[in-house]
Symmetry: C2
């Protein structure tokens, strides 16, 4: 009774869908990858600095996508890019990937499908879903995002992976094509993200924006994205707090 | 404990995802369109044979898609085709669409986003979802299928509308591209449908198949699709019965 959808001051529109950056904003990739890499290393009788392994694997993510964004390489899924990067990061950490079982490597690559949500993610998403369409707006491919959601119960309404838009954030098409598929104007879609650069690109494309602080995404020494760096429509310390900002309560209807 | 995914005799694969034809198989479009058309006609002070109106609107569906399937027209969404066909069917039923309010017509066109599920659909889908990925495999566009799901609580894991595959069933690409996006082999995907022709095309493309009987989809005089016309992997009189056939119980884990 009396619920009013959030009206974005920056776009002038009522928000109909709240879409989330996923790696870092909804799930804790560093902890999840480190844990699974440690298990892999132990099974192969090898010592591993698992957090550094996770950081190193993640660090290859942007350069791999950049080749596609720049047009120097045809679109390839994030699963494919992760798999290529895995060989590099394994070598750097003393493994010889050519001698490892291909199926074990494929399984390790799918660690990105099995990442723990931040403690507030599932509850916060469920609250927002009561009032808004929710989905990821991620560079992950659809099957990755689908498996991730089923593994930990992320209650997405819809999953439009980067393999469907065939582009990677922060290119404008990633945001605009997603809004188009939802049959919403860009200003009716809000991106929630822990990364200021993603929000800058979303705003540039005409979307509403919300910052969700994840100050330990990169571990205890994280230096960037500790604070909102612009006047985003909303800023929150968790997805539950974001739900409140959007007028979507966790329990009773407003 | 001890659950074994369904093994399709026809494809030789374990099924990982069960995808559903939507109009007729999951939702009762005839009742839903007739009811909303009757309300529209009453609001305009005009008499209407609402069931015939629904049948006539639906009858224009295949010819409109055929222009796209044959390549004589570029891809257009089902919302667009429905909207074009609406003008024709309104004229046939004594309306003058050019004199009607465009927003009211747009709203009437979105009747296809607001269709009642068959009584077993939501419970059956929830049961299957416990064991398998579920989604529509429909000629509907993503936003249509998403709004339909939110309106009545269809618990899809993923929605890959025809606007994302950019093709219409029964062309093979509609089935094959969907399997590819799910990162499954065609034989690991089952199509469940109330229409034998859809199942024939799915089998031809390498999918597992299940017939769900909907003997009143076209009203009391329905003459086609009353029975399975081939040895589909499974045949059921409801989605709840299909869940049982797939080993997915509605309540306790098997």
């Amino acid at each position: 009774m009396g619920f009013q959808p959030y009206h974005s001051p920056s776009t002038g529109c009522e928000v109909g869908a709240v879409l989330f950056d996923t790696f870092g904003t909804v799930v804790d990739w560093r902890t999840g990858i480190a844990r699974q890499a440690a298990t892999f290393a132990a099974a192969h009788g090898q010592a591993l600095d698992a957090e550094t392994f996770a950081d190193d694997w993640r660090a290859l993510y942007q350069p791999a996508m950049e080749a596609i964004r720049s047009g120097s390489r045809e679109f390839a899924t994030l699963d494919t890019l992760h798999r290529e990067n895995l060989d590099h990061v394994l070598r750097r950490h003393g493994f010889t990937p050519d001698r490892l079982d291909l199926r074990a490597l494929e399984e390790l690559n799918k660690s990105w499908h099995r990442l723990p949500p931040w403690p507030d993610s599932v509850e916060g998403l469920a609250a927002i879903r009561r009032r808004y369409i929710i989905g990821p707006l991620s560079n992950g491919n659809t099957s990755l995002l689908l498996n991730m959601a089923r593994n930990v119960g992320l209650p997405w309404d819809v999953i439009i992976g980067s393999d469907l838009t065939r582009t990677y954030k922060p290119l404008p098409r990633a945001y605009l094509r997603t809004a188009e598929v939802l049959d919403l104007r860009p200003g009716e879609v809000m991106l929630a993200a822990a990364h200021n650069h993603d929000l800058h690109a979303a705003r540039e494309a005409g979307l509403a924006t919300a910052f969700v602080a994840r100050p330990t995404e990169y571990g205890p020494g994280q230096a960037a994205d500790l604070e909102p760096e612009s006047d985003w429509d909303l800023s929150a310390s968790s997805i539950i707090e974001l739900a409140r900002g959007l007028g979507a309560r966790a329990s009773c209807a407003a």
